[in-house]
Symmetry: C2
Subunit: 322 residues, 2 copies
């Protein structure tokens, strides 16, 4: 195996026959991309590392391929963006250049097709553990990008989908033995998350949102980031948190507040625009969960009392494995 | 230490006071970038990994910061591009979040200023070893990007600067003890390479080049890539290879043919345009080293005979440390 062979396998997996939208794909020093007139560019990158973000023995290579792109694209969804292309940086041990690489490229190609995000280039090298870094490029009509900052006291908070479902899937995966299959919707959400692109784009077009973030590290952590960006606080009503029925018998509130990896959207909407937020949008549930408040406290109600919501989501400098 | 603290240190190191050219910097889900009308975008990413590309005990953190950006920007230079911004993905052990991070950010900031390439965003996480991935975004006037493919038999081959100098610096560093300083120009080139942006941009504007690549892995390896892209061969005249006088007493030909990490440019020019290539351009030497030939053989003259030039440069799947 040499570097060119690995590159050829990647190229072959993504050879589509049709000419892509890119001026130039893999095989040059840099990829060439022609921006759409009247749009701004969105750029984001994400680590996806063996041992930190996935376990080689438990996560199917196909799911690793899907998820490394899907979670990066979720950052585009959080700004109302349209995915255009991505760069793949891949470091592999020689033992992973055969079957594992094949599975990985299969999942990555399916995500690339479904999310309409083309492989534009990348970098490969050898390493004892599998290291992945994905950079995604998206576009958004000029002036329509939804920022993380911009919310103010009185705004209403919404989330898409269910919270804590991916965490539930992770727990099932940890309890199980051997390689995970896509057993139920919680496990599926952990392995094959679907970024909320259609919802994000709709919200950007309608200019309904004052601030938005995607929930990658858990509500308690990502809400704190959303609030910090605008120097505001928030109140969350735990009885309103949307939790999957699969979580029956578990600590549903803890799951919803601190479970990571959901890739749902958390958004703030001016109070007078809240009537325009539908209960379902492009097949995705939208649930009102609280309000933005003055001051910097983030509070959650429990047994009739308001208590501080402590960041309990994912922080790589605190935990070692997800 | 938590993730936000690391982010704050990065943000602080790059706080300029002036408003940057970017619509939005670090602190959002994705960076916003407004493309210049009439230009195309260039995108490239590069690994820079502890133990593979640098040694924590021997390479100053400042040089790691400089080089991880400079080598990525070199891919833009190879297409005649203008650097615009970059994304930094950084994985660190907690032990590196203090002094090492400070030094690293210092070198990175200097490179960012000198190369006029702004920090736009990134991703940080914790890891036992230092992992770096840099994505650079550049622009080039529509239709002016210089491709790796496009050369044909009869074209003349040129390189910028001296070859094998960085390899010489690496050998000195390996022979030395303790942390390297920037002792001489070879060591300086290994630690603080300068991408040939001005030369690349001049060549793109004048449309003088039929194909170009940057020399990251050594002439023998990168020339093979340039030739493969156009299904041609080449002849290299070893007596013409520009080698630093610092290499006196060493195997100068081997250094020039196989030494990696130079980040010089290798370019092909139509024979009739060769008269327009100056001997010096923006302070950088340009040297004619051979010609493109029909067929796929890459030959080098030695003791009056032509022999096959075997790829002897850097291949991460063959060697383990640089």
């Amino acid at each position: 195996v040499n570097e060119n062979k690995v590159l050829q396998r990647i190229e072959k997996a993504f050879a589509t026959g049709r000419k892509g939208k890119l001026g130039l794909g893999i095989g040059d020093d840099a990829a060439l991309f022609t921006p759409v007139v009247g749009h701004e560019l969105l750029l984001s990158c994400d680590w996806f590392l063996e041992g930190t973000h996935f376990l080689k023995a438990r996560h199917p290579a196909d799911a690793v391929g899907w998820k490394c792109l899907a979670r990066a694209v979720s950052d585009l969804a959080a700004m109302g963006g349209i995915p255009r292309c991505f760069l793949l940086s891949l470091a592999l041990p020689e033992s992973a250049t055969g079957r594992w690489l094949h599975g990985f490229l299969g999942g990555l190609r399916r995500a690339s097709k479904q999310l309409d995000c083309e492989l534009a280039g990348g970098d490969t090298t050898r390493r004892d553990e599998i290291l992945i870094n994905v950079t995604v490029v998206g576009e958004v009509r000029k002036g329509q990008a939804i920022r993380r900052a911009g919310t103010r006291p009185g705004d209403v908070l919404y989330v898409t989908g269910n919270l804590g479902e991916a965490e539930l899937g992770l727990q099932q995966l940890k309890r199980g033995t051997g390689m995970a299959g896509a057993g139920n919707s919680a496990l599926r959400k952990h392995l094959y998350p679907e970024p909320r692109l259609a919802v994000g784009q709709w919200l950007a077009e309608k200019r309904l949102t004052s601030a938005m973030i995607d929930l990658s590290d858990g509500l308690s952590t990502d809400l704190a980031r959303l609030c910090a960006a605008s120097r505001v606080g928030a109140r969350i009503h735990v009885e309103d948190l949307p939790v999957s029925s699969l979580a029956a018998g578990m600590d549903r509130v803890r799951l919803a507040l601190h479970g990571g990896d959901d890739y749902e959207l958390l958004l703030a909407v001016r109070k007078k625009k809240a009537v325009k937020i539908p209960a379902r949008l492009r097949g995705v549930k939208l649930t009102r969960i609280g309000e933005i408040t003055a001051g910097k406290k983030i509070l959650v109600n429990e047994a009739g009392e308001w208590r501080d919501l402590v960041r309990g989501g994912w922080d790589p400098f605190r935990k070692t494995t997800r």
